[in-house]
């Protein structure tokens, strides 16, 4: 027995409710993770080993550990050190850390790709190093990094489905729950995939368009 169209219509509502959570988590993760990545990129570039080494260790751990492990670590592991977070907060913490560590490398290469002459011009004009970063280097690095950052944002959205393992009622948990009661796994998971395709395919086109446009 297959699912009927009226079944599908019934599923749309819980799946949408779940998907809103995925989008929320993605949005907040970008909001926290990208600036975090920028800060880590700056720290890793510092000359002092007391700053550089801890930053490098954080980045390597964040990049080395799978996002799934980080999620479980925060949600199930933290309570053992008396830090209990809701599944939503755990998702934000784990995914933001992972995002910050991954994007710090993207941002670092973006900063390095700004021609040396630009920094020298700012220096010769007597800009403070903060002003040089803010007005000269960062805007150019952001433009260089943005296609990769947009691509990474799509990956964040997809990795939010891992949150079904920490009891967050996002779209994958909703689908799994409906599947486990109706046994209509094939149509329900197809429908779930459609939600992502609906967002990710246009976003990928946007990234591609942006990449072509920002080529010199």
């Amino acid at each position: 027995m297959g699912a009927t169209w009226s079944d599908v219509a019934d599923w749309i509502e819980p799946l949408s409710r779940g998907f809103v959570l995925n989008l929320e988590i993605t949005f907040i993760t970008i909001l926290l993770g990208f600036p975090g990545g920028f800060v880590l990129a700056l720290l890793v570039e510092r000359r002092s080993p007391w700053v550089r080494w801890p930053a490098m260790v954080i980045v390597e751990i964040g990049r080395g550990a799978p996002a799934l492990v980080l999620l479980q670590f925060v949600y199930f592991g933290f309570p053992q050190i008396d830090l209990t977070l809701s599944s939503f907060a755990s998702a934000i913490v784990a995914l933001s850390v992972s995002t910050a560590c991954y994007t710090s490398e993207i941002i670092r290469s973006g900063l390095a790709a700004v021609p040396k002459g630009q920094k020298e011009a700012a220096e010769a004009l007597n800009f403070s190093s903060a002003d040089s970063m803010r007005f000269v280097v960062f805007p150019q690095a952001a433009k260089i990094s943005s296609p990769a950052m947009m691509g990474f944002s799509i990956l964040i959205l997809q990795s939010t489905t891992l949150c079904f393992t920490i009891a967050l009622p996002e779209i994958a948990s909703q689908a799994y729950e409906i599947g486990s009661t109706t046994f209509q796994y094939f149509p329900i998971l197809s429908l779930t995939a459609l939600f992502f395709i609906f967002v990710c395919v246009p976003a990928s086109f946007l990234v591609g368009w942006f990449e072509r446009r920002s080529e010199p």
Binding site: G117, E120, A124, F127
Partner: protein
């Protein structure tokens, strides 16, 4: 000044008598890159209003010398004096010293280095606002005035990428002048330009020299060195080999090293 007498007992002396106080004074400046000694014991004076050309083969240290003046490279030893400020290089340069020194110096690069994400007007206004704390209106008035001087009033709203190399370099000169420097440093300002575009930059530099600006110009343009600069410095292997009135140094070099260089430049 008429010490431009053709009597030059020691052609490698680039310093003025001790009782004259020059705008820029360098004493025993040295610069090492690791084991490699790029500048060897350079002593040099540049008087207020003087135009000094620095010429020499590539790798002779002339660009490094220029970059040492505004501390884009930090000298390894010696001392540097600009106006009332003295910096000794027996200790790492303090931020305050660096700021005070650069405040008096404008720099023009071979590759222009305009900020590509800002309009021409913003390129000239932003440093004034961030470094000198000028208000927007004031900065724009200064910028427009300077753009008129370099003949680019119509380019104010353009982006650097829509300007020719010669135009970009003139904008870079305006950007540096907007901060009211006492000395302008030019690092091969026409080397990236074809001769025609180079000429429009040179003519801006010429009128700047006429207006009494103190200028130190690293260049391969011998005609500029000869016609515009008061003095020419010939460098090789990190040392000042000859210094003196431009016509003397270029037309009648005394050392074999300089003679060889100018023969090559003149294509003989």
């Amino acid at each position: 000044m008429d010490q431009a007498a053709s009597v030059r007992p020691d052609p490698s002396t680039a310093t003025l008598p001790e009782d004259v106080s020059p705008l820029v004074r360098m004493r025993h400046l040295c610069k090492w890159f690791g084991e490699h000694e790029v500048l060897r014991d350079i002593s040099l004076d540049v008087d207020s209003g003087e135009v000094l050309a620095i010429v020499g083969p590539s790798g002779s240290g002339k660009s490094t010398l220029l970059r040492c003046i505004n501390l884009l490279e930090e000298p390894s030893a010696g001392s540097l004096n600009v106006g009332e400020l003295t910096v000794e290089f027996d200790h790492p340069v303090k931020r305050r010293e660096r700021k005070a020194l650069r405040q008096q110096l404008g720099m023009v690069f071979q590759s222009f280095n305009l900020f590509p994400h800002m309009t021409v007007l913003e390129n000239i206004c932003l440093p004034q606002r961030r470094v000198l704390g000028r208000k927007r209106d004031e900065a724009e008035a200064v910028a427009k005035d300077l753009l008129e001087k370099v003949g680019l009033t119509d380019k104010a709203a353009a982006f650097p990428s829509n300007c020719s190399g010669g135009q970009q370099q003139r904008i870079a000169i305006a950007r540096a002048l907007a901060l009211d420097p006492r000395v302008m440093l030019f690092d091969e300002p026409t080397s990236a330009l074809d001769p025609e575009l180079g000429l429009e930059v040179l003519s801006v530099m010429f009128s700047l020299a006429q207006s009494g600006m103190t200028m130190i110009v690293v260049t391969h343009e011998m005609s500029f060195a000869e016609k515009v600069s008061d003095r020419t410095l010939f460098m090789a292997e990190g040392k000042i080999v000859e210094a003196g009135p431009s016509a003397d140094v270029i037309r009648r070099p005394q050392s074999e090293r300089a003679r060889r260089f100018f023969r090559a430049v003149n294509g003989l």
